[in-house]
Amino acid sequence: MTTAIEMNGITKTFPSVVANDKIDFVVEKGEIHGLLGENGAGKTVLMNILYGLDRPDEGQIFVNGKEVEMDSPATAIKLGIGMVHQHFMLVPSLTVAENIILGKELTKNKVLLDMNRMLNDVKDFCERYKLEVDLKAPVYTLPVGVQQRVEILKALYRGADILILDEPTSVLTPQEVEELFKAVRALKEQGKTVIFISHKLKEVLAICDRITVLRRGKVVGAVKADETILGELAETMVGRKVVFTFKKKRIKTREVVLKTENLKAIDDRGLPALKGVDFEVCAFEILGIAGVEGNGQTELVEVLTGLRKATEGKILVDNNDITKASPGERIRLGISHVPEDRHKRGLIPDFSVMENLILGSHNKPPFTVGRVRLNFEKISNYAKRLIKDFSIKTPNKDTPVRHLSGGTQQRVVVAREFSRKPKLIIASQPTRGLDVGATEYVRKKLVEMRDQGCAVLLISADLDEIWALSDRIAVIYEGEIVAIKDPEKTSERELGLLMAGGKSG
């Protein structure tokens, strides 16, 4: 049997780092091959090289046994390679169908797009691979899970026999992950080869036939999935032992910090997103909000932080009505916010670490003199302290955060928000896209804050995370809190059902 992919001695150096260091990587035909590694291990770079997006400094690439010059994605596509990128490569304003056929359009009269024929073609495809999507919907209106399906369809439509999935599960709900796995297995059955990239060990073990582990740009292990065990793999990947669970120390109080009453809001398209949300979060408590993405979580967080207007209802913090308060006033009242998208909402990439660390408290003492001038001495000491306390890996306080890795960037956000002595923390997807080490750190910090008396509202699409951290779990579905559960009295299955709109048993 020939190999589908063989990469020999691939080296890729960036000015700052050796991203790939003499990597040998072999994928057999028809297998699901896992590529495992921490953040920045070099997985994406390796796959970009395979897909012709990056050129290696050294090394050869063989596809189906033949050496190839991989100079552009067009070449890769011709050779039957498809890639679903970590950050989706979809054009938001185009429809699903348009995205799928982009670059491989059908025409009538040789000039005009033949939309009907293409719709039919794509529909056939969807049926064949059991991937359901509304072909005419613009992509920006779709939840990420569906967008991912579109990505896969896109690759298949281009005739991909070898499919690269770069961290496909990091944005999915458990149900969606299950569906994805089904689809991936179906692909395998159809004879396709799949390269599956992930941080999540369980998943890799669950679906892959063989696994290659990268660490700091080098291959540190290649194993058969059924011959390995979880902890071992984790250690190979991280290079040390990893703690998976947190010991929860529970302090029961009834001191309500945040309370919402019949909260309603509309989304960007003007449709109702929150339809009367009621809940409370107490001090010394983490309330986890579980739910499939797109059920109003984003809007809920925005309403709570003042970034979106509530159309109805009330938000009370310490029994003060803050429904009309501006984001700035809320920050002053002691509300901290870890946004779901750190690039978009959390950080100003061109600002230095120091400048980012004072965002939100930049306008009050001790960082200002007379409310006008910034007090750089205080600020720089503060920044240095936080960099140390939160082990932010940065050359210095003046480095733009743009230059930092995703995990480090998240540490900046967390450091800023947690050091403000908040009474309420609203953490939205706080560990999305982070590696094991960084995830562990952020979770530990959240629990620490809780233990110091903070009320924490945790919104996460990762059920494991909700499960591991929450004192109580609220499930959100279509803009409503459909249940609030005690984690000790419920099951993952029950939650999954609630998240999918089912009734709890």
């Binding site: 990128h85 989706f88 490569m89 938001p92 359009e105 281009r158």
Partner: protein, 308 residues
């Protein structure tokens, strides 16, 4: 005396269409460039140099159509230059465009001096003749308004429709939109992002060139220094106002062209001081824009696409 109603005539609308034409050409040009993520603030300069080139070529060849061709080519060349600077050398798009504008003013004056011994205006050349479209011109009113024009007016109308078709009904249009909105996505779909950008910015320059040719050969038959009179900038406004859509841009250009034509006729009524009447098109544009409560969201992110 002249009454207010005397002003609302067929002539007003034909004039409006003429005043619309150069702006519409340039704003269509703006669309093509911005749709692939390149701001083209140099439309004004491209128009001016093209207007000059058109007259110069006609002056030497005696054939205004060769002049139009020259204008289009020169516009395309400037577009290529803008693309080279901003795509290949990742230059700042606004700086580059501003450079082109200032260059245009200096260059046309300098060259007018060389060619006609005057930096102010060229000699008169043979302009494009007005043509009537047989059937069209017989339709009452409509025919009077759009039936008889210089060919470039028809070309503008055709190109407006064509731009829509190209952008929204053809594969290349799909690719253009994808490249502008999400170049990385287009790249991974096997589309040559850079080629698309070059092409579109060149087309942008060519359309601006047609706008310039209309001014100097279609409407007038001479070149005068600074004759674009800010129409390139107005065209950018029309493009934004029209939401980067061909018909929208045409509509916005027409709004402005109409207001301008109206303003000119209102002056003859002596109702208000001329300076105040002259502000009408500008105030009207702002007012309409303020009335249309909508955020203008550009179709692309304008960040240079840098491949490793």
């Amino acid at each position: 005396m002249v009454e207010l109603l005397d002003v609302i005539t067929v002539g007003l609308f034909t004039a409006a269409l003429r005043m619309t034409t150069p702006i519409a050409f340039a704003s269509l040009g703006g669309i093509f460039s911005e749709r692939v993520g390149i701001i083209n603030i140099g439309l004004e300069g491209m128009m001016l140099i093209s207007a000059f080139a058109g007259v110069a070529a006609t002056y030497f060849s005696g054939n205004p159509w060769l002049g139009v061709l020259a204008a289009v080519l020169v516009g395309g060349l400037l577009g290529l230059f803008h693309a080279l600077l901003t795509v290949k050398f990742v230059g700042n798009q606004i700086v580059s465009g501003t450079g082109i504008n200032i260059f245009a003013l200096g260059f046309t004056a300098y060259m007018s001096q060389v060619l006609w011994g005057s930096r102010g205006a060229s000699e008169s050349v043979q302009g494009l003749e007005v043509v009537s479209i047989p059937l069209l011109k017989d339709i009452p009113i409509i025919g009077d308004i759009i039936g008889t024009h210089t060919p470039l007016v028809y070309l503008m109308l055709i190109i407006t429709v064509l731009s829509y078709v190209v952008l929204f009904k053809t594969p290349i249009g799909l690719r253009i939109r994808a490249v502008g909105e999400h170049p990385a996505a287009a790249d991974t779909a096997g589309i040559d992002v850079f080629k698309t950008k070059y092409l579109c910015v060149m087309v942008s320059g060519m359309l601006a060139g047609l706008g310039g040719a209309f001014l100097s050969l279609g409407h007038l038959s001479l070149f005068a220094w600074g004759m674009t009179g800010g129409r390139g900038f107005i065209a950018m406004a029309a493009m934004i106002f029209g939401n980067w859509m061909p018909f929208g841009a045409f509509g916005a250009s027409f709004l402005f062209g109409f207001a301008d034509a109206l303003q000119m006729r209102l002056q003859a009524l002596g109702l208000l001081p001329p300076q105040i009447i002259l502000t009408i098109p500008y105030i009207l544009t702002v007012a309409v824009l303020a009335g249309v409560v909508r955020k203008a969201i550009p179709p692309s992110n304008y960040k240079p696409y840098v491949k490793e």
